[in-house]
Structures are given as C-alpha cells and as structure tokens.
C-alpha cells in the first residue's frame, strides 16, 4: 500500500506542473497549433471554397460578432444582420452584445484569446478608434494601449488592401485605423463630447439668453436655480459622464489637445499652474454648483431621460445621446452647442471629440471572406447613411450627410471639429490614480473626496510626476 503511492505522487506533481507550464507557455508556442486546427476545420468544411459563393451556398456558417451595447446601434445591427443573412444564404450571424466599459475589455480579451470571435467592434473603454500609440516622447515608461497590444500580438487582420476601406475619409483612416502604415480597422464615425444640450423653452421661460461665455453661463445657472429649476444634470452613477461633460472646459482651456498631452509628459504644462489651475477651479464650479443635487444616483441614459422631464436647462454630454433624448420624447425645443468654457466667446466655437466605434477582423477567423464581406456591407455607402441616421455619429464617409435634428445643430460647427485629449493621452506607469487631470471634475465632492481645486491640482501634478520619474 505504502509503496504504491510513490509513483502516484510523482505522477500528480508532474501532471500539475505540465498543466501549469502549458498555461504559461502557450502565449508564444501554442499559437501555431491553434491555427493549425482551425485551418484544418476550415479546409474540411469548405474544401471547395475557392470562390466565396461556392462554399457558402452549401455550408452552414456562423459568423461571430461582438458589439457594444447602445440602443440605436443595436437596432441598426439587428436589421443589418437580417439583411446580411438574407443576402448570404447559409450564413448566420451570432452577435453578442456587451455593455461598454470593463466587461467589454474582458470579453474582447477572452474571446480573442480563445479564438472565439470573427468580427469585433473595438470599444475597449473608451469606445474609440485607435488612440495615440506609444510616442517617442513617452520613452519606455508606459504600457501600450489595448488596441496596440492586440495588433502587436498578431490578433487583428491587416485590411489595408480591402477596397471598402477607401469608402472612408483619409483622416479617419489615418487617425483612427492605421498602425505602422497598415490599416486594421474601419472607423464608423466621430462623436463630439464637448458640447451641451440646451432646453430652449426653459431658457425662454426664465428669461435667460443662450450663454456664450463662462461668466454668462455662471450667471445663467444662478438665475435658473433661483427659479426652482436646475442648471445641469448628469449621469453621475457611471462616473465617466461627469468628466466627459467637462471636456468642453478642457477644450476651452487647451485648444490644441495633442500639444497638451505632450506638454504634460515633457513638463511644459502643469496641472497646478496657470491655465491648468484655472481649469481645476472651473471644474469645481461645474461639479459642485452647476450639476443638480443627487446626480450620483443617475446612470448615463437615465440622466438623459431625466433631462427630458424639462426642468433642467443644460445637459453637457456627447452627441450620441441625441437619439436617447429623442426617444424620451422631450416636450421642449432643444439644440446642441459648444460648452461655453472660456471667457472669450471666440474660443467657444470648437467642438472636441473622438473617433468612436471601429470594426476589426480577428486574424485567425476561419471565415475571412465572410468577415470581409460583413465589413464591406457595413461600409457600403447606402448602409452607412442608414447607420449615421440611426446612431447620430458624425460621418467618417465623405458622401454621408447628417440629416437629424442634431445634424442641423452641429453641421455649422463641424469645420471647427478637433480630436480631443482622450485620444492623445496615456498615463505613465507608476503615476498615481489622480494623474489624469482631465478627469478631475469627477473627483470633487460629492463625487469623490476633494473640496479644494488648488489642493487637487497639486495632487494631480504630483501623481503625474511620480510616473514621469524626473
């Protein structure tokens, strides 16, 4: 009895170690094996797959699509998928909808790692095109953003030579979909987040003109609050809407946001000096005086529904909320204007924003032709126009037009559109949790512990410099 357990122990330990080693090793080595299997299955299932049509006709193919949740987008995708399935007999679309934010990153990571997805909407917190990669001025002291990690790991298909890519405007291809001269994505639209929705009827009722400078805005809020209405509301429960709502202030203070990102890294710009400090003070007024009480309990979409009730004058948030607002059937006339963040009305003409969702193909999809056809369908100008109408994105195809009520409001401002800070900035490794000062609006009481703009500014700068390491 005793003797027999020796070999058993050896076996158990060896097994455990082998399994553990497999777990660790596969990152590099196992890849080819995995590809091998998928290729074999592909060959088996579509041996005569010379032309795209030949294989599809006879075979049941399921295209796995991962998309972030956004009600108008979901509606559009459902229709699009039905159409795609009708046009491509034998193909079914297996679309998974995941809420944007943390879970989305986990889903992308897990599904790519498991080779369990064909087409991905890149929406890893924030939902965006490719932001800035690691730039020279950052040195080594930085982690590459998730999209760059994905490409460098070889998980994303190079689609540079696909004709449908050319349907999009040059700027979007360059800024939002290209890494080291290759195109890996198509970007479906820009959004602006630095403006605010305005309740025209309420302003008329309380006798306030549409503010065009910061001082006018402060005065307007006082007047509105005095009438028992509220100046602004926001989706405070989700955290990010608070600081995104203040991006207009950031834009007014630093109109060149690429330079801001670089300046913070090089030390030419500091959060606790000059413009930076003034900005922190405005953030505080926005967070503490302008937002109505109790917004910490409102979710992002909930805040828009709440805004539709009519007793709030402004909702500073992204244009993507326009469809949600329309759906909530506001009983008032509304428009969308740049956030008047500067005392100089001239500086309040710009709309800042970012590229929003991008579609990518997993490099080892067993159905590359169908996946490409799927992207080609999404990029088709007619479909794209429908998409823009449904979602309210600012189009990245030169032929598309904005037809919505929002479009009317925003169209004249589009020549003043600029890409915002979010797309340029990465925090250095070792920086503290307060390092990204663009989010400081969400750190004031009642959202977090800070009550003094000056103290917070010093902390932000200290947290940032801790990562820059001198």
């Amino acid at each position: 009895m005793k003797g027999k357990l020796g070999p058993f122990w050896v076996l158990a330990v060896v097994l455990a170690l082998v399994l553990a080693a497999c777990g660790g090793d596969d990152d590099g080595g196992d890849d080819s094996g995995d590809n091998g299997t998928t290729e074999t299955t592909e060959a088996a299932s579509g041996g005569d797959d010379g032309g795209e049509d030949g294989g599809e006709a006879g075979e049941e193919v399921s295209l796995r699509v991962l998309v972030h949740q956004n009600p108008p987008l979901t509606d559009y995708m459902t229709d699009f998928n039905a159409q795609f399935e009708a046009d491509n007999p034998g193909v079914t679309i297996d679309m998974e909808i995941v809420a944007p934010g943390g879970d989305y990153a986990t889903a992308v990571n897990a599904r790519l790692a498991a080779a369990d997805v064909d087409v991905i909407d890149y929406c890893i917190d924030p939902c965006a095109g490719f932001s800035t990669p690691v730039e020279d001025y950052m040195g080594d002291n930085v982690e590459a953003p998730a999209w760059q990690q994905l490409i460098q790991a070889g998980l994303v298909m190079d689609i540079t030579d696909e004709p449908f890519v050319q349907n999009f405007d040059e700027a979007s291809i360059q800024d939002a979909a290209t890494f080291e001269d290759s195109v890996y994505a198509i970007n479906m639209g820009r959004v602006s987040y630095s403006g605010m929705f305005v309740n025209n009827d309420l302003l008329a009722e309380v006798g306030v003109d549409l503010p065009t400078t910061w001082d006018e805005l402060v005065a307007a809020c006082d007047t509105i609050n005095a009438t028992g209405n509220f100046c602004m509301t926001q989706g405070g429960a989700d955290g990010w809407p608070i600081f995104v709502g203040a991006y207009g202030l950031l834009g007014a203070a630093f109109p060149d946001q690429a330079a801001l990102a670089e300046g913070l890294w090089t030390g030419d710009i500091k959060w606790n000096e000059g413009e930076g400090l003034a900005l922190m003070e405005k953030f505080q007024i926005y967070a503490q005086d302008m937002l109505e009480p109790g917004v910490t309990g409102l979710g992002h979409n909930e805040a828009t529904a709440r805004y539709a009730a009519g007793d709030v004058a402004f909702l500073p948030t992204g244009v993507w909320q326009a469809p949600v607002l329309e759906e909530s059937e506001p009983g008032f006339d509304w428009t969308y204007v740049p956030f008047p963040g500067s005392d100089n009305a001239e500086d309040n003409q710009y709309l800042f924003g970012k590229y929003d969702m991008s579609w990518m193909i997993a490099s080892d999809t067993p159905h590359p032709d169908i996946a490409k056809a799927y992207l080609a369908g999404l990029a088709d100008p007619d479909n794209y126009q429908t998409f823009v109408d449904a979602t309210g994105y600012l189009p990245t195809q030169p032929t598309a037009t904005l037809n919505s009520k929002l479009g009317e409001a925003v169209a004249p401002l589009l020549e003043n559109y600029r890409v915002g800070f979010e797309q340029y900035y990465i925090s250095p490794t070792g920086a503290g949790q307060w390092a990204n000062g663009s989010q400081a609006a969400s750190w004031f009481d009642p959202f977090n512990e800070w009550t003094d703009a000056g103290e917070l500014a010093d902390q932000v700068q200290a947290d940032l410099e801790a990562g820059l390491g001198g």
Partner: protein, 312 residues
Amino acid sequence: MAVMKKSYLFGGEKRWRNLAPIYFLLPGVLFYFIIALGPSIATSIYSLTDASGLRGADVNWIGFDNYDEFLFQGLASRDNIDATLRTLRFCAIVTLVQFSIGLILALLVNQKLRGRTFFRTLFFMPVILGVVIQGLMWKLFLQPRGGPMATIFGWFGAQSEFLGGQPDEAFMWVIVVQIWANVGITMVIFLAGMQTISSDLYEAAKIDGASGWQLFRDVTWPQLTPAVNTNFLLNIIGSLQAWQLFLVLTGYKAGTQVLGYLVFAEGFGQTGEAPSFRQGFAAAASMVLFFLVLVIGFFANRFVTWRERKFL
C-alpha cells in the same frame, strides 16, 4: 496500525481491492492539483513575467519588476498599498461586526418566541439571492435622489451620496451590504451551536444563582466554542477575498479598491481609461493577497486552537 489496516480493509487476495482506494482517491486529488494547486503555483511563476494574457503576445522574464512596481514605483504604489490596507480594514470591520450581530441575532431567535422561524428565514434570505440581486436591491435602496435611505437620512437632517459619493462613505456602505448579506450564515451557525448546549447545564447554573449575563458568560459562551471558531475563521477568510459586491455596487472607483478587485481589473483590462492587459502584474498583486491571507489565517488559526484548548 499499518499492519492492521493492510490485513483487514485493503489486504486480501484480490488485487483490485488493494488498489481501490487509490483509484477512488484519484479524481478528487487530480481536481485539486489541476484546478487549485497547479494554477496557484503557476501564479507565482506568472508574477515574474510581463505576460499580457493575449494569445500570441511576447512573454519575457522580468524578475521581481512587477513586485517592485506594485510596492515601490511612483504614486501608483501608494494606491496599491492603500488598496492593501483597505482590504485589511474591510476584513477587520466585517469580521467583528458580522460576528457580533450574528451572535446577538442568534441569541434573540433562539428564545421561544412566536415567529422566530420567520425571522430566521428572513435574515438568511439574502444568502440565497446571491451577490447581484443583493447589490441591485441596495443600489435601489440607496438611491441618493429620493431613495428610502435618503429619506431616512432626511428625517435627521443628514444627506449622503451613498455609493456614488465620497469613497470612504461608499466603502462603508459596501461593508453594510456585505454584512447584511452574510450575517444570516453567521447567525445560523451560532444557532446550531446553541442548540447543542444541554439544558442541564443551564439548570445547574441557575441553581447556583446565575442569571442573564452570567448564564451567557459561564455557560453559553464557552459551550459555543466550536461555532465561535467556525464563524471566526469563515468570516476572516471570506472577507479577505470578498470583493464581488464592490463590482456590483461601486465599480472600480478611485478610493474604494480592494486587492481582489485590483487583481481582476489589471488582469482583464478593467481599470478604465485606456486600459492595458497586464496579467503578469495582476499575478504579482494576487501573490501579495496570498501572503496577506496566509499570515492572517495563520494567526487566526493559532488563536482558535488556543481557545479550543482553553474551553474544551
């Protein structure tokens, strides 16, 4: 002993009977090695690499760089150490309060009161509902705009943003929900302990003139030792590793992170704002958690053994 075993149970002519226990042992032990021990050992190996966790990405040995970054680099280390201390605070408060309330509730419902079954069932109910329903119920209950708790606060002229506001307040409310959700288990274990105490002991003590508090101190408490120990250990280990309520209630909010959540967020890209996948770093953070649990668990265990020797 060994000889006896061999001759009676596992000896005999038939070879299969001789081997049987090992074969039957195998599945359980294999599960243990493959699912628990193997990965745990691998965690320590992972923690020495810069693995991202993405398929196909390079993995390099970087020695103790992850630990260095976690504990010493810049001000991120301050946040990590804060999260570590917060984990300890969470454990201490939850253990103490849940233990005490559980004991009081058990004493109350152990009396022969009409409706005590109802109360037992009610207090145990959240355990069955699970962490998501617990969290959603309380998110609703703690709505700062006119929710019930806000109304109660209003009666006293107080005001709070609850889960969405000051990190310290939010942290406290998570503790409240954690205790609310799990005190039922603690209560039931105490209750079972109380029902094993022979009524003769109480009668004898009463004859000696003991009453109320003395009865509790001299009879109930010492006799309750096994239940006390079980609850103590379950609470400590459970609360050190519990963080799912944070996920539901506050999200990854600055100033409320605990270690378990930090591991998950770093490893699976949930840290917000341009996240990266950093499973090597996350593994290092989980090793820190491991040492914490090990040290505290060790002392808790020593304490429990000491109590057993004292009372039993």
